[in-house]
Structure formats: C-alpha cells, structure tokens
C-alpha cells in the first residue's frame, strides 16, 4: 500500500500536467522508494491513483531502466563503462569494483547493500572513471577513493538523498 504521504506526493505532481497519465514517471519513482523496487502492489496503487490499467503502468515501468522490477541492493551503483569512459580505463576499474564487492556485473552483494549495474553514458566522460550511487555522482575515482566511498555507505557516513528531487507546486 502506498503511504498517505506518498499518495499525497503523487497527487501534487498531477497539478503539473493536463493529463493524469503524464505523472506516471514521478509516481513510479515515489512508489519505488518504499521497497527499492516496484512490487506488483506498487504498480496497482499507481494505476489506481492515475486511473490507468495496471498493465499499462507495468509496460511503462518495464520500458525505463531506472525502474526495477526485481529486488535490488540498498544502494544501486551505476558504473559507466561506455566508450569514452572505457578509453580512460573504465572496464578495468569496473572489474576492480566488482572484485571488491564479490559480485558480477548486474549482481547484488550477499549482504544486500549494493547492486552493480554497468551503465551507458552518464554525461561525465571528462571525469572517468565515475559512477552514480542512487543517482548521486562520484567522479574521478581512484581505488583509494572507491574504498572510502564503499566504506562510507556501509558505515552510514555517506548517504544519498532518495527524496523526490522535483517539487510539484505551481507557480
């Protein structure tokens, strides 16, 4: 079940658009926050608020790579190994990241802390190697820096803000 606060947040997004359907992406982000991925219940709840069929919502959710249909780690790492980054050693660095976490690409650590996803260009090619953790940028990585970041997430000294970025009040 969507919390009352989540429902209110989705309702506020509706004011930005002339159709309810336009709020589907913001609504799915909000619904995904509760469990880190989109449960069938979350899909149904979003469909109900937007007055759509659950299958329509599921098909939209399935199209976009930032919506997860299966459980993921507490923190999702998107590591860019696309061509511009790979020209600056990103493939080798990704191997080191995976080795440190004991996972293969697309895998989740045994403790459920991290999922590692290789990413297509993240618009930071001049700062490779780089990754996003929960969509926050961590750039110009070195092995030392990487260790600090992973430790920081494990100990809670680094936190990413999962709250909705875009406010919904009208001008």
């Amino acid at each position: 079940m969507l919390s009352a606060a989540a429902r209110a947040e989705i309702e506020a997004h509706l004011k930005k658009y002339p159709t309810k359907r336009s709020a589907i992406i913001p609504a799915l982000y909000i619904a995904q926050r509760a469990h880190g991925y989109l449960t069938p219940e979350a899909i149904r709840d979003v469909a109900q608020v937007l007055e759509l069929e659950p299958t329509e919502v599921r098909s939209v959710a399935g199209f976009y790579s930032l919506f997860y249909k299966e459980p993921v780690g507490k923190h999702v790492i998107h590591f860019c190994n696309d061509l511009p980054c790979a020209l600056r050693g990103a493939d080798e660095f990704l191997k080191k990241l995976c080795a440190r976490l004991g996972v293969e690409p697309h895998g989740t650590t045994g403790d459920g802390m991290f999922t590692v996803e290789p990413a297509m260009c993240l618009a930071a090619c001049d700062r490779a190697p780089l990754m996003q953790v929960d969509l926050d940028y961590f750039e110009n990585l070195t092995e030392e820096k990487l260790d600090e970041i992973l430790d920081g997430f494990r100990t809670g000294t680094i936190q990413t803000d999962a709250a909705s970025v875009i406010k919904s009040e009208l001008a």
């Binding site: 309810k20 336009s22 589907i24 976009y64 790579s65 020209l87 969509l135």
Partner: protein, 416 residues
C-alpha cells in the same frame, strides 16, 4: 575566449539569481515581455542565425516561426535528455549557469506565446535537476516566472520533468511520448510537433544549449551574435572533448575552430604523446573521421563535407593504441541496449551487428563477415522509424571504410 554560454567560468556563483542579474541576467527577458512583440523576438533570433545545438543544426528562429498563431495552448519543451556517449555540455550549463537556461526557456515561450514550458531531464540527472529546481524557485519568488509578468497580461509556468533511463527519449517525438506518460518511442512524422506536439498541441522542442544562447542574443542583438563563429554557423558552441586526450572537458569555441586547436592546444594533445587514429565528432552516432581530418573546421558544413556530422559536438578522440573493433563493438552494444524496440530493422539489426562483432572479435569471423556487416547496415539505413537506427550503423560503416585492414586481419585466419 569570451564565454557566451559557459559564463560561470568567468563569473563565480553565477548560478545564484542575484549574481546572474548583476551580470545582465533577465534584462533581455524583461525587455522582451514589456517592449517587444512576440514576432519581433522570433525575427531577432532568426536574424542571429542561431542553429539548434542538439544535433540537427536547424535554425532556431525558423523552427519557432512554424508554430501556428491561432491554436492554444502551445508548449515549449526543453530537451535535457543528454545521453549521447561523449556529451556532457548540457549538464554543465544546468548545474553552473541554470538561470541562463531558464531565461532562454522563458524567451522561447514568450516568442511562440506558450504559457507552459517543460524541461525534460534524463532520469540520471537527479543532482542537476535539484540545482535547476532551486534556480527555478528563485526565479518564481522574484516574480520573473509566474502570473501577469511585469504587469502585463502574459503569464508563464515552467516545470521540470525527470525521465527514467532511456536514450531514445532524446529523440524529440519519443520525448513527447515519454512526457505524456507513455513508452518513449518515436512518433510518425508528419504531423510535425510544431503543429501536433505535446498533448497534440503546437510544440517547440529545443536543446538546452540552444536556449542558453537566446538570452545573450536578446540582450546584445543579432549583429553582435553574428560576429562570432562563421557566416553559416554563427555563434559559439560548447565542444565536449573526451577519450585519449590529456585535458578532456567542455570547451566553448567559435564554430569553425579546427579540431587541431581543440585536441592539441586546449586538450593538451594525446595521452603519452601517441598518434591520433580517429575522431568521432558527434559521439557514437557519428561516422568516424580519420586522423587526416585534424585540420577540418568544426562547423556544421565543414564536418559534413569531411564525411561526418558535427551533431552535438561530442568529440571522442581515439589514439593509435585503440583497437578499432573493440571501440566499434562498444558503440553497437550501446545502440542494441538503447533501441526502443518499435521497429524491426533497428531492434533486430542492432542485435545482429553485436553478434557479428562479437564473433569477429572472438577470432571466429570469416573474411565474408565484413560484407555481411555492411549488408546488415544496408537493411537498417533509411529503413528505421527514427534516426537512432541509422546512427547505430555509423560506427560499422565508417570503421570498415577507414580501417578495413583491422577487420581483415581479424578474420583472415579463418579462410573461406
């Protein structure tokens, strides 16, 4: 070099409203709303010769003039879905000079008399979106965006919208579909968005950098702008330099600057003093140019004449150590991943291109596989629903053209 777009490099804290306003910010906006007729603003942008910076290079003022006067509401949609491999200019504009973008959006809205502007940012731009939202809030609080602006009867609302991870949404009609809450898949054209766009209403879609050019034009005039760049490609352009260079980054330069100045002078040359092998002038979508293109001027006409396109000007530099087949496989993998699946030539073609490249790189390719690759591209080129399908073939076609020897060496041992 005087910056027109990356002015924050000269002016600290330009992202703050009071700093932006202290440097002429929103003066053009105030003047337009209080003193100019919308058509006069369109004429001004037409006269400046400003061309779209998202890739196609279409004249911005002309695009605005296609919007019918008698159909309401109308929309301005900003393409901030910056996803082309090697492109990172819009992000810098959004994060460091957000008010110049907002003022550009506002001017575009006024020019076509749209009451709402939507800025569509790629989902991965959570942090840039946060900065932009803050700037937008500041502009609203200062009465620069909102109801009855400057005591006139013109009202404007600007909203941000985050995507959720799909390269195809940079294609303007796919972006509109996504903004309407559907799968981000391209629409058939005609009708064009100028007539039937967002919510089936007349819609202007411009790139972030294009709109960031508009406030300086509104403030300083078309003649001032035309003094920058070349006759057919006026103004400056933000070039994204990446790959095997010492100083990658964004460089704002007059259009028509040769690749050599960007790569050797500004970019500090190639890492380790190696030799240049090839240049991708517009990310993974571009036909690769050989090292001999180093003196080609970077403007729309010259890069096209040299056999590629300037596109969004994301220049990826490959040096002599780069395995061309490896780089090409990376690029076709990108397009396979990002194909939206709507049309068969792209969905299936990108799949087969990756399979063939994998086979050749595993050492299992035969000499005839080179022509097979070209045959697949012929079945895609011009036959896909949108340009993404055509772009997916660029790396294959152009690397076989310029580096066929590497394909032959990789397939030679397997005979016929």
């Amino acid at each position: 070099m005087e910056h027109v777009i990356l002015r924050h490099r000269n002016i600290p804290d330009l992202h703050r409203l009071e700093v932006y306003q202290a440097h002429g910010g929103y003066e053009g906006w105030h003047k337009a709303v209080t003193e100019m007729k919308p058509d006069a603003l369109i004429d001004l942008v037409k006269a400046s010769g400003l061309r779209g910076r998202g890739g196609a290079g279409f004249p911005a003022g002309l695009k605005w003039s296609f919007i019918p006067k008698d159909i309401f509401p109308k929309y301005v949609v900003v393409n901030a879905d910056e996803s082309e491999p090697g492109t990172f200019k819009d992000r810098e504009i959004i994060e460091r000079n957000p008010h110049q973008l907002i003022e550009g959006v506002a001017l575009a809205c006024y020019a076509v008399q749209a009451g709402t502007g939507y800025i569509y940012l790629r989902g991965e731009f959570k942090q840039p979106a946060r900065i932009l939202q803050k700037a937008l809030d500041e502009a609203r609080a200062a009465g620069l965006i909102g109801q009855n602006l400057f005591g006139t009867n013109y009202s404007l609302d600007i909203q941000l919208h985050l995507g959720a991870g799909a390269y195809i949404c940079g294609e303007e009609t796919a972006l509109l579909e996504s903004l309407e809450g559907k799968l981000g898949q391209p629409r058939n054209r005609p009708p064009f968005p100028a007539l039937v766009g967002l919510y089936s209403k007349p819609t202007v879609i411009n790139n972030v950098e294009t709109l960031a050019n508009v406030p300086p034009i509104a403030l300083n005039g078309a003649d001032w702008y035309k003094k920058l760049g070349t006759e057919k490609s006026p103004g400056t352009k933000v070039f994204c330099l990446s790959g095997r260079v010492n100083r990658p980054g964004n460089y704002e330069l007059p259009l028509g600057t040769p690749f050599r100045v960007l790569i050797e002078d500004l970019g500090g040359g190639i890492i380790g003093g190696k030799a240049l092998k090839g240049i991708l002038p517009a990310g993974a979508s571009a036909l690769i140019l050989p090292a001999s293109a180093i003196d080609v001027p970077m403007d729309y006409e010259s890069v096209a004449a040299a056999g590629s396109m300037l596109g969004s000007a994301s220049i990826i530099v490959l040096d002599e150590t780069v395995d061309i087949l490896w780089a090409t496989e990376k690029m076709v993998r990108f397009f396979r991943h990002e194909s939206c699946g709507k049309c068969t030539p792209c969905r299936e073609g990108t799949h087969w291109l990756v399979r063939e490249m994998e086979r050749i790189r595993r050492g299992e390719g035969k000499p005839q596989d080179i022509d097979l690759l070209l045959d697949i591209t012929k079945n895609m080129s011009g036959k896909c629903f949108c340009l993404l399908g055509d772009f997916a073939t660029s790396s294959i076609v152009s690397t076989i053209k310029h580096f066929r020897g590497e394909y032959e060496a990789a397939t030679r041992t397997n005979g016929q």
